[in-house]
């Protein structure tokens, strides 16, 4: 078979393009875990949170989160009756060792708000990444490919919930993975595992038997900053309007 120069020049790029797909091979999947069967989120019940800090400690132990950095943290709000929009918020060391004793207030109320990555369906953080190092998985978890991240911190600025940080020693972006290494093994997240009051519940919206479906029908559940249309999947029960 003889090839003219013209045919050769057409065939070489075509073969190179095809070779890409040959080398890519077939993707390896975990045997019992199907990415398309799940759509993960979390339910955070403010009416049950006691501010013990178990979730913060558990998260740090499970994920080797450096000191003074937080993938999840707890805030204590004091909202007075005089000003419903500017509450007094404290979070000493992320609420890791609990909170100082609060005295009863006459005209106002205290409550705890656990915060974490909202694993947004339309996340601003994944949209700004210039290299494709952060993304939402087919099962609805926002993750960071730390071998690919440049540490430019665009995503840290883009997150409206302040849930990302640059890791002090790895110098790449870091955040809550929704304990992806646990939920893909059939376990719950470290924070849910250690919450003594059940204020945190891992939810799988694609599971028709998940109690979240009944809960959302019967409770007043909100997400943080709904006006930003991030598609947040951290559902808050009993969320006060003063929470930002």
């Amino acid at each position: 078979m003889t090839l003219s120069r013209r045919q050769f020049l057409v065939l070489v790029p075509a073969a190179a393009a095809a070779w890409q797909y040959v080398l890519a091979g077939t993707p390896q999947d975990a045997p019992n875990y199907q990415l398309t069967d799940h759509w993960w989120g979390m339910l955070l019940d403010i009416t049950k949170c006691i501010g013990c800090g178990n979730c913060v400690r558990a998260c740090q132990a499970e994920n080797d989160v450096p000191d003074e950095y937080f993938r999840t943290w707890v805030e204590r709000y004091l909202r007075t009756d005089w000003d419903l929009t500017t509450p007094e918020v404290i979070s000493p060391d992320g609420g890791k060792e609990g909170f100082p004793t609060a005295e009863e207030v006459k005209n106002g109320m205290y409550f705890f708000v656990p915060k974490m990555c909202n694993h947004c369906a339309d996340s601003p953080c994944t949209q700004v990444c210039p290299v494709g190092a952060t993304f939402i998985t087919p099962d609805g978890v926002v993750l960071i490919d730390q071998t690919y991240c440049l540490g430019c911190a665009y995503c840290v600025q883009a997150c409206p919930y302040g849930c990302r940080y640059i890791h002090p020693t790895k110098h790449v972006a870091d955040k809550c993975t929704l304990c992806y290494h646990r939920i893909t093994k059939g376990l719950t997240t470290a924070c849910c595992e250690n919450c003594p009051t059940g204020a945190r519940q891992l939810v799988d919206l694609k599971n028709p038997n998940d109690p979240i479906h009944a809960f959302l029908k019967t409770h007043d559940v909100h997400v943080l900053k709904p006006e930003m249309a991030t598609g947040a999947k951290a559902f808050y029960n009993g969320l006060d309007g003063s929470v930002r």
Partner: protein, 157 residues
């Protein structure tokens, strides 16, 4: 057959373009990770890599596999919803190797108070005590068994 006059220089440009294009494909092939674009604009293999990270908390069901007696006590009491590792700490290494890794001893003076210290910030229906006045300096477990803390429920030691 010549469609255009002096088309030689056009062919040379075409050849140059083709060489650069092939070079681009070759470089791209080596620079872009294999799984990039598998699920979207990111490295698909990263999902499996993150999923393969080691766990530190074994999970409630792992504890209950061996500690059936304590699991039964706990289920009947007020602490039924509190998972073992919420107090005992991360023990996946103990679950994997029960003989060699022993859980650390716990201090109830720290643990009980963490949740049950009285504070106006906590939900009103959550049981709370001002520890100093409540026990008069006695350790919590003098009266309350941590696995089933109600005294009238046979929880007292």
């Amino acid at each position: 057959m010549k469609t255009f006059r002096d088309s030689e220089h056009l062919l040379r440009f075409a050849l140059l373009f083709a060489i650069v294009f092939v070079l681009f494909l070759v470089v791209r092939h080596f620079v872009v990770p294999r799984s990039f674009g598998e699920y979207g604009h990111y490295r698909g293999a990263a999902i499996a890599e993150i999923a393969a990270r080691p766990i530190h908390f074994a999970g409630q069901s792992a504890c209950e596999t061996c500690h059936t007696d304590i699991a039964a006590t706990k289920k009947a009491g007020m602490h039924a919803g509190v998972h073992c590792e919420a107090c005992h700490g991360p023990l996946a290494s103990h679950a994997a190797n029960p003989a060699s890794v022993q859980p650390p001893k716990l201090d109830t003076a720290v643990l009980c108070v963490r949740c049950h210290a009285a504070s106006a910030a906590k939900p009103k229906n959550f049981p709370q005590v001002a520890a100093a006045q409540h026990s008069g300096g006695l350790a919590c477990e003098t009266c309350h068994h941590p696995h089933s803390p109600a005294i009238q429920g046979g929880g007292a030691k």
